[in-house]
Amino acid sequence: MPTAMEIYKLLPKTNCGECKFPTCLAFAMQLANQKVALDACPHVSPEAKAALEESGAPPIRLVSFGSGDLAVKMGDETQLFRHDKTFYNPTVLGLVADDADGLDAMKAKIEEAHAMSFERVGQIMRVDSVALRHSTGSVDDFVEAVKTAAGRELPVVIMCDDAGLAAKAADACSDRKPLLYRATASNFDAMVAVAKEKSLPLVVGASTLEELTELADKAKKAGLNDLVLEPGTESLADMLVKMTAIRRAAVKNKFRPLGFPTIAILGPDMMNHMKAAMGVMKYSSALLMDDMPREMVYPLLALRQNIFTDPQVPIQVKAGLYSVGEPTDKSPVMFTTNFSLTYFTVRADIEKSKIPAWMLVVDTEGQSVMTAFAAGKLTPESVAKSIDDFQVKEKSSRNEIIIPGMVSRMSGKLAELTDMKVTVGPRESSGLPKMMKTLSS
C-alpha cells in the first residue's frame, strides 16, 4: 500500500470535501490506512487511479482457477519467511494425465486424483486439480479427457503448446475456468490471444528468469492480468534458486513482472517427489505431478498443512465435553487438550476401543499435553475448572476421571480439587483401547 503522501500527490488537491473529508490530505491518510475506498473521491483522474491501483496491488497477484467449491487460489503471498506472518495459499497439487497413455488411462487418472482426499486434524487435505496433457497421443482423446475432467469437480489444467488445440480444449470446459498451460516464446502471440479471448488464467514459461520477465511483461502489456510463472526447474537446485529469486523479486523489490504465482511440473520418480516437498516449502504456488503414489501424497499433504498453518494460531478445537459413541452416565470420562492434533489422535484411539466415552477437552490455547503442561497452561486447577464448567459430574455418575499418562504428576492435586477418583492412563493414547477394556463398568 502506498503512503499517505504518495496518495496525496495523485489527488486533485482542491479540498472540495465531496469525499466527506475536509481536505485531500485527510482523505489520503484514511486511504493509506485502508479506512476508505478510492471511489469516495469523484475527482481522481483515471491516470492517478491506475497508478494508485498498481502501487496498492499485492506484491503477488491472486490468481484462481476452477469453479465451485473446489476452485483453487494461488499467490497473494506477502512473506519470504512464514515466521514473519504466515503463508496464505497452500501449494496447489495437480495430477497430470498424458494422452500418450490413451483415453482410458487418462480417465483412470482423473478418478485417481478425485479419490485422493484425506481427513487430518479435522481438515480435509486433498489433491486439488487434474492436468490433461497433449503430447504424442490423439487429439480426440485429449479433448475427450478434458471433457471428462470438466464433468467432475476438480479444477482442470489444459496442457498443450498448440494454441488452436488449447482453444478447442478450453471450449470443452468453458464454464469451468481452466488454467491454460502454456505460452512460451514460440507460441506466445497465439496463446496469449486464446487466454485473452476466453478470459482464462495463463501459464507463461521460459527457461531463464530474464526471458520469463520479458514474456510476463509482454503478456501484461497485451492485457492479461492472470498469469502464472513457470521458470525452468530442471534440477532441485535450479528450482530452489529460481523460486527464491521470483519470490524475493516480487515481495522485497516489488518487481511487477514477476509478481505472479509460480508453477513447476514434476516427473515421476522419488527425486521429483522430493522436489514437490521443496516446492511446498519454498515458494511454488502450484505443482503438477506425473505420478502421486499414496505413500508420498499423504506426507506431502501433511507437509503442506504444516507449512501453511498460521504460526500465531495452532490448529485447535473448541473446549467442551465431547461424546465418543453414545456414552451414558456409566461411561468413562477422560480429559485431553484442545490442540487439534492431540484431540483427533486421542479421539481416534478411543474410537478404536469401541467403548463409548466422554472426552473433556480442556482449553490449553491449542497446545499439546506436554507443551501445555510445561507452560503451565494445563494444571490441576484448569482441569478442575473445566470439569465444573462443562458439568462433567452431571453427565457421568462414575466420579472418576482418566488422565493422560504424561501428566500423572497432577493426579493428587486433581483428586483433592474435584473429589473424583483419578486414574492415570497410558502415556500414549494408543494404549487407551487396551486400558479401557480393563475398566469396571
Binding site: 487430518r120 520469463l212 530452489l240 504444516n306 494408543s430
Partner: protein, 317 residues
C-alpha cells in the same frame, strides 16, 4: 524492465566444527568431518557459499525397546546389536557419522551399568571408522556417570556428547572438556533458549568450535512447522552477526518414526514402510532447507533419498 537477481549478503558466517579425529589427530577415525561454514541461507550459490553441505548421521539405539516393530523387520537383524547396526550404517548404508543413543542406561528401564556402556562405546569405535556422537538416556545422574566413562574411554576421538540441557549440562560439559570432545547443546524450539544454552556452555569454559546446537526437530505432522521456522530464525540470527548463534545445527529427524501416522496400517495411505521413508526424508529435507548442518536419520532408504536430494541441491545435478 530488466530482471536482476535479488541477492542477500549477510555479515555473519556459521562456524566450522570438526567431528571425529584421525590417527594423526590423536584418534582412530578414518576421517574428520566438518559441519557448518556457510555464510548464507542453504543452497543459494548465487549469493553465498556452503562449503560443507549437510552431513548425514544415522542413529543407533542400544535397545530395541525404542525401535518400532515394523522398522526392526525391515532394517534387519542388525538393529538388535548396536555394534552390528553401527557397522551397517558405515558400510552398506553410507552414513557420514553415527549417533549412538545409550537409551538402555535409563534407570527406569534396563538401567545398564555405566561400565557396560563404556565397553559398548569402545567396541563400536573399534568396529567402525566413522566419527561418532554419543547421547545419554536423559536422566541426569545416570548420564553423568556414563558420560564420564565414555569420555575417558574415547580420549582423542573427538566425539560429540549429548544432550546438554539448560538444567543439566555441567557434568556432561565437564566430561566433554576433559578429553577434547565436543558437545551437543539442546534447546526446546525457542531461539532465546538456544542462545541461552550456548551462553551457559561458553561461560562454563567450552570453546565455540566444540559446540553443535540441537534446536529440537519436531517431525512432520507433529510440530514440523515450529521447528522449520525456529531453525530459519536461528540461521538468520546467526547470519545477521550474532556470534552466540553461529554454531552449526544438528537436527534429529529420526523422530519421524515416532509419528503414528508415518507407520500405521491404512491402505488408503499406501504401504506403511514406504510412507515412513517419505515421512523421514521430508522431515530431513525441511531441516536442511531451513538451515540444519547435520541431520540424524534412521532408515537406509530415506537416507538415500535425502542424500540424493542434497547432492542435487549442492552440486546442481
Amino acid at each position: 524492465m530488466g530482471f536482476e537477481m535479488p541477492t542477500e549478503k549477510y555479515s555473519g558466517r556459521i562456524k566450522e566444527v570438526a567431528i571425529g579425529a584421525t590417527k594423526d589427530q590423536g584418534g582412530t577415525r578414518t576421517a574428520r568431518l566438518i559441519a557448518g561454514g556457510s555464510n548464507g541461507l542453504p543452497f543459494l550459490p548465487f549469493e553465498s557459499e556452503m562449503p560443507h553441505p549437510p552431513l548425514v548421521a544415522m542413529d543407533v539405539v542400544d535397545t530395541v525397546r525404542m525401535v518400532p516393530e515394523q522398522l526392526q523387520e525391515s532394517m534387519g537383524a542388525a538393529v538388535k546389536d548396536p555394534v552390528e547396526w553401527a557397522k551397517k550404517c558405515e558400510g552398506e548404508w553410507g552414513a557420514d557419522l553415527c549417533v549412538l543413543k545409550l537409551q538402555s542406561a535409563n534407570p527406569e528401564e534396563e538401567d545398564r551399568p555405566a561400565e557396560e556402556l563404556e565397553a559398548l562405546v569402545q567396541k563400536t569405535l573399534q568396529s567402525t571408522g566413522i566419527p561418532m556422537v554419543v547421547y545419554g538416556c536423559g536422566f541426569e545422574e545416570k548420564d553423568a556417570k556414563v558420560m564420564e566413562k565414555v569420555s575417558n574411554a574415547a580420549k582423542g576421538e573427538r566425539l560429540f556428547l549429548g544432550l546438554a540441557e539448560e538444567k543439566a549440562y555441567k557434568s556432561i560439559a565437564a566430561a566433554s572438556m576433559a578429553n577434547g570432545h565436543g558437545i551437543v547443546a539442546f534447546s526446546n524450539l525457542d531461539i532465546n533458549l538456544a542462545k541461552q544454552m550456548n551462553i551457559l556452555l561458553l561461560d562454563f569454559g567450552m570453546k565455540p568450535e566444540n559446540i553443535l546446537m540441537d534446536p529440537l526437530m519436531a517431525p512432520l505432522g507433529m510440530g514440523l512447522e515450529y521447528s522449520y521456522s525456529n531453525i530459519e530464525r536461528l540461521r538468520l540470527g546467526a547470519l545477521s552477526g550474532d556470534p552466540v548463534l553461529q554454531m552449526p545445527m544438528i537436527c534429529d529427524c529420526s523422530c519421524a518414526w515416532t509419528v503414528p501416522e508415518a507407520l500405521e496400517e491404512n491402505p488408503e495411505r499406501g504401504d506403511p514402510e514406504l510412507r515412513g521413508v517419505y515421512w523421514e526424508a521430508m522431515t530431513a529435507l525441511a531441516a536442511a532447507v531451513a538451515g540444519a548442518d547435520v541431520v540424524i536419520m534412521r532408515h537406509p532408504r530415506s537416507v538415500t533419498t535425502f542424500r540424493n536430494s542434497i547432492k542435487a541441491l549442492a552440486g546442481g545435478a
